[in-house]
Each structure stands twice: as structure tokens, then as C-alpha cells.
């Protein structure tokens, strides 16, 4: 048996799981609830400046792209566990949606 090249797919998947578990909930709490409700004061200009900074862009890209990849792979595995098989259609839907999200986030961050 030969060693697998799966790490290339799996490491982004595992990192996406970490980001989705530890960082996304906090970000959703801050940007989705606390800021709109006025509990935390975070002006638009500061958030924009963060997204404008190259390092900020990289962080935001990681926060979107890694969980998107994680979700795609997890959903494909769930389909496999449910006996739907790992066929081309399932792959296209799962990974296609992830690549679409990754492309949109990359484009948006480049335009800012």
C-alpha cells in the first residue's frame, strides 16, 4: 500500500474545523449581535480599515475559506455515511459550493 496524498485535502479541512469551532461563533456574536444591538461599539470605518489591510484580508479569507472547505468535506462525508455514496454529483455540489464561496470571498477582499 502506498501513502495517501489525502493530507493536502485534510489539513485545510482540519484547520477549517478549528476555525469554525473557535473563531466563527465569536465573530458571529460580535458582528451579528453585539455590534448591531449597540452593546459593542465598533465603527464601520475601523472594520473597513481591518478588511483593507493585507494581513486583515488574509485573516478574513481564512475565516471564510477554511470553514467553507470544512463544510463541503463534512457534508460529503455525511452523504457517504448516509449511504448516498461519494459520487460525482455529491462532490460537485459540496466542493462546488465551497469553491464558489472561496472565489466570492477572494474577489470581494481583492476589490476592497
Amino acid at each position: 500500500m502506498a501513502k495517501s496524498n489525502k493530507p493536502l485535502l485534510w489539513l485545510p479541512f482540519a484547520s477549517g474545523g478549528l476555525v469554525a469551532a473557535f473563531i466563527l461563533p465569536v465573530l458571529i456574536l460580535i458582528t451579528g449581535l453585539l455590534v448591531p444591538l449597540g452593546v459593542v461599539h465598533l465603527p464601520y470605518e475601523r472594520m473597513f480599515a481591518f478588511a483593507h489591510n493585507p494581513l486583515g484580508k488574509l485573516v478574513l479569507f481564512g475565516v471564510v475559506a477554511l470553514p467553507a472547505w470544512h463544510a463541503a468535506h463534512r457534508l460529503r462525508m455525511t452523504a457517504h455515511d448516509l449511504g448516498l455514496g461519494g459520487g460525482l454529483a455529491v462532490r460537485l455540489i459540496c466542493y462546488g459550493a465551497a469553491w464558489l464561496m472561496i472565489a466570492i470571498s477572494a474577489a470581494a477582499l481583492l476589490v476592497i
Partner: protein, 247 residues
């Protein structure tokens, strides 16, 4: 005192039966009886043709694994009192061919177990004169839980991936490979990686975690497999990035 409990046991005799069927037995109910006691009662008192494996009756030998009401359990570890007022359905372990009645064919697992070389591998044996291989309690704790495996195969019966792809090396064999990889006296990690880090090795696992949930010895094969994925990934990148790393 005359209470009985119904056991539905899967019967299959390859010489006479075209397919498996259930047979119902009424067994005396005892608070202190486990399912294995009920099976023994059937064999001794009601039907001597019933076949099942067992040996120690104390969750050490790993022989009496069966499906009890759909869940993989050791027959000696499942009390009748937990199934009182119901029917106890006993079947051979899922995902394995049936040899006869509750006895499964485990050749597939035996081949996989030996493929990961679950024993100490050393590059050069240390001469006896140089003394013992000392190990600190911390080094022992790294792998001790994985050494509790009794090869009962409940984890294989619980694993949906093994059910879908019988090529998967599977939880117990991968956990035992991890046990030796973590042992400070062992140097066989790269050799085991040929099986462990192959497509049919840890990468076939989708981290359902059923293996760890059903283990009667508190082993956590799911964790062993995840830890192996991390170290196999790091090894893969090292081999890819460092000069001369690709073999």
C-alpha cells in the same frame, strides 16, 4: 421467582439453512444474569445446537461480542435487568460474515491486525548487558489506554465506514498501531505508515466516533485515528518539502 425473559437469537447453520432466521427462547430471569448467562442456559438446558464464542465471562478475553438489540456489546457485560419487560434480540456482530449462529468469521480483522505489526519494532536490538528499556510514567501514559484493547471487534461492528468499505483497516487495528507508534521504545512508525497512512488507513475514517462509544475497555480509537491523521499529515508535508524526503 418464575419470571422468564424472551431471547430472540439469530440462527444460521451454513450446512442446512439457506438464510439466517430468528429463534425465540424463554429463559429464567435473574437480576444478576448477563446475556452470556442466558445463552449458556439455552445451550445447557434448551438447545445444545446453539453456537457462540465465549471464554472468560469478565470482559477480558473479548470473545463474546454480539449485537444486543442492535448495539454491539459483550455478552458478559450486558445485564438482563437492563432489558427487563422486553425481548432481548441477540445477533452476530454486524459487518462480519457468519460462520454459524452467533459466531463470526474474523479472518479479515486478523489480517489487518498483523498488517500494522502491533508489537515493538526496533531498528537495532539493545544487548541484554546494557540493561532495561526504561520508560517514565508520562511516556507510559501516552499509550496506556490504547493498550487496553481486547480485540473484541465491537468497534468494527459499530463503524459505519467499515460497513461501507471492508477494505478500511478499521478502529482497533489503527488504535493499536498508534499505541506502538507512541511507545518510546518503538521505532517502527514509518514502517506502519505504509498501511496506517494509506487510503485504506486513517483517511477512510470520517470521525463518526461510534468505535469509542461502544468500546467496553474505555479505549478511544477515534482519538487515536485523529491524532494519526495529524502526524501523518505533518510527515507528508515534511516528505514533500524537505530535500530527499520523497521515497
Amino acid at each position: 421467582m418464575n419470571e422468564t425473559i424472551a431471547l430472540e437469537v439469530l440462527r444460521y447453520n451454513p450446512d442446512t439453512d439457506r438464510e439466517p432466521h430468528f429463534q425465540r427462547y424463554a429463559v429464567p430471569y435473574r437480576d444478576e444474569w448477563v446475556v452470556l448467562d442466558a445463552l449458556t442456559h439455552i445451550k445447557d438446558q434448551l438447545d445444545a445446537t446453539l453456537c457462540f464464542r465465549w471464554s472468560c465471562h469478565m470482559a477480558v478475553c473479548g470473545s463474546c461480542g454480539v449485537m444486543i438489540n442492535g448495539e454491539p456489546k459483550l455478552g458478559c457485560h450486558a445485564f438482563l435487568r437492563d432489558y427487563r419487560n422486553g425481548v432481548v434480540r441477540v445477533e452476530p456482530l454486524d459487518h462480519f460474515p457468519i460462520e454459524r449462529d452467533l459466531v463470526i468469521v474474523m479472518d479479515d480483522f486478523m489480517a489487518k491486525l498483523s498488517s500494522v505489526e502491533p508489537y515493538l519494532l526496533v531498528d537495532a536490538a539493545k544487548p541484554l548487558g546494557e540493561g532495561e528499556h526504561l520508560q517514565t510514567p508520562a511516556e507510559l501514559n501516552l499509550f496506556k489506554q490504547y493498550a487496553q484493547c481486547i480485540n473484541c471487534l465491537l468497534c468494527y461492528a459499530a463503524c459505519p465506514q467499515y460497513g461501507l468499505n471492508e477494505g478500511f483497516v478499521g478502529p482497533a487495528a489503527l488504535a493499536l498501531a498508534h499505541r506502538y507508534n507512541l511507545d518510546s521504545r518503538d521505532t517502527g512508525k514509518d514502517r506502519r505508515a505504509e498501511v496506517v497512512a494509506s487510503n485504506e488507513g486513517v483517511w477512510e475514517c470520517s470521525f463518526v466516533g461510534a468505535c469509542s462509544a461502544v468500546c467496553p475497555k474505555g479505549v478511544d480509537p477515534a482519538a487515536a485515528i485523529q491524532q494519526t491523521k495529524v502526524s501523518a499529515s505533518l510527515d507528508w508535508f515534511k516528505a514533500f518539502l524537505l530535500p530527499g524526503g520523497r521515497k
